[in-house]
């Protein structure tokens, strides 16, 4: 599959696997996201969306994020 389709995590379809390209949130938030596993090159699976939030799985851990944070995570469709 093509790897050049860029979007943010909030746009990732439910059930899809995406690869993190870069983070654009405030530095301290980006650091926290990275430490929770949302670091560059990590694979994220979008589990579901609702309530303006998203549930995704990274490093086999399920995490709920609000849409503002998810918009700061730039991803591309995983290989």
């Amino acid at each position: 599959m093509a790897t050049n389709m860029h979007m943010t995590l909030i746009d990732a379809p439910v059930g899809s696997r995406v690869r993190i390209r870069h983070l654009t949130s405030r530095p301290e938030i980006s650091t926290r996201l990275r430490e929770l596993g949302f670091c560059e090159n990590a694979i994220v699976r979008c589990v579901m969306k609702g309530y303006g939030n998203i549930i995704c799985e990274v490093h086999n851990t399920r995490v709920g994020l609000d849409s503002v944070l998810a918009r700061g995570i730039h991803v591309s469709v995983s290989d």
């Binding site: 596993g37 589990v47 549930i55 994020l65």
Partner: protein, 707 residues
Amino acid sequence: MDRDGTPTPGAVRGSRTGLIALVGNPNSGKTTLFNALTGLRQRVGNYPGVTVERKEGRMRLGDTEAVILDLPGTYSLTPGSPDERIATEILLGKAPHTPLPDAVICVVDANHLERNLYLVSQVIEQNIPTVVALNMIDIARRHGMRIDIRALERELGVRVIPTVARKSEGVGELARAVLGGGSGRRASGVRLPEPVERETEELTTLLVRAHQFSLPRARSEAISLLSADGARLEETDHYAPGVLAHVRRDHEKLDFLGFDRRAVFVESRYAWVREVCAHAVTRPATEGMTRSDRLDAILTHRIWGVVIFIALMAIVFQAMFSWAQLPMNLIRSGFDELGTLVSSSMPAGDLRDLIVHGGIAGVAAVVAFLPQILFLFLFLGFLEDTGYMARAAFIMGKVMSRVGLHGKSFIPLLSSFACAIPGIMATRTIDNGRDRLATMLVAPLVSCSARLPVYALMIAAVIPPLSVMGIVSLPALTMLSMYLLGMVMALVMAWVFKKTLLKGGPPSFIIELPPYTIPSLRSTLMLMWERAWLFLKRAGTIILGASILLWFLASYPKLDGGTPAERLNHSFVGMAGRLVEPVIRPLGFDWKIGIGLLTSLIQREVFVSTMATIYDVGSDGTSGGLPEKLRAAHNPVTGAPEFTALTGICIMVYYVLAMQCFSTVAVMRRETNGWKWPLFQVAYMTALAYSVTFIVYRAGLAMGLGG
């Protein structure tokens, strides 16, 4: 000697009582392991942030003894919240009141090995002898995960002991490993890109020289300085000017070389983690939807999620009010029997009155609510243990952010249904100071279990047992309304505070959703037992004391002759009540209720025992329980009933909103480090309670409900 030939003396063996730090991610089972190692009892939860207090316990193995310190759960040694700061400072040897631990047990959830190993890599670098407890290994195996322990030990360079803390499996071996000298220590294999490593080493050396830091602490601070952004560096004032100048040069150099300084350290760690897992872990390929996916699709669904959430809350209240009735009646009749027995076996006089009307009646009135409190904790424990609580926080995240609160604020607010004290303490997991303060200020508005006896008494006395639409009983609906009123007012006040005193941008929301698990009956029962014991202890000490004191104040000075009501009117209690009556009269409260409001400042439920004492002392031979006595009470002058439905509702509304709890004030003082915020909280809550109750009373009168 450890397996690599590195000398690793027993961390604790043969020395003074050693200190072992227990560290791990939230939800890694750290608290359960702590209980298994020390035998101490502590609340075991399933959502981030349950461990907010310093917890210590003693562990023995033969002649060796060590103190185990259960550190707050943390994802990394780069602290975000006050909780994580405590853990980080202790492991870096920066905590003023705690020595550097002699050894560390790093608890790792085997199911989330990748994420958990991030912290392990940082802990290992602190050069403190470390043993990794690979916890929940049974669940990982059940999911088809295979972990090669020997390979993992080889990669990490420290002992790895598989454990199932819930069943105490592997706990003995873990104790032997950490106490008996099996703990290894070795620098982690995290490899930074060459130029980054060079600058990190140089800065580490400089920090050791300039500030006499230990090598591990210097390296950890070097990494945090190199990844800091420029603005934050300008705010730092505890480094020598030469160090800061060096850091600025490093920033320029690494930026010029094209490194993302904020990402490179984390990324290198995760690269190492991936390498470790590639050698030691095999996961089964997952296809399609997992069981958790299917559950999440329903429980966090945008419509069904809310419906299920509201239905669950309704069941909790219905259970507390309907199912708890039978045991409550049994307790009441048991105490009645006791009172009759004592009355018949003792000669009449002051001592008999003191025991029967002061002691037994006061304590009985409060202890009768034990079953409801047990039901509340049964449900709270069950919701936590299944993993649903975090989903509820996720569902409520949007609502929370609408009023400017953090999604994580939901957990402290939910904990406040049990008691505002753990609720306020659970706010430590909120990173942002303003969001945390806003949550603390409104947490006591959520109806705690101490209000339950007050609501239950009032409802039993004045709300008829009708059913609404043939499904829900009116008493249960009234109870639910009181809980909703508290929650809604908490949200409204949070919105007000975030718009005025604590202005700030909308907070961001990240929450870990633990896997769904079948709840442990043992841990839920343990929680219920702890709460029941705490409640009974209070009933046996403070409430008994208050009841006896009240009996005295309600019986003296003695009036010879006259009706019981006249005698009460003549007593100290009567005098105090008349003193406050003008202030509370506009709320529809008489002097007897005034006494209850004053005495329940000790604890809210004392209101019930106060009423029991006052009405037992003042009764004129009416038989039945306290609710019946309240219902039967009439003003001796006007002949009007003392407790109408409106009076009962006003009392409940007042208790929903008023800060009637010294213990909460004390905890607020401790958590905010001063008197400013606790006093503000008392003032705003009292003003709110008074004005809302006044409005309800006036509106009720206007609608003709006062009769």
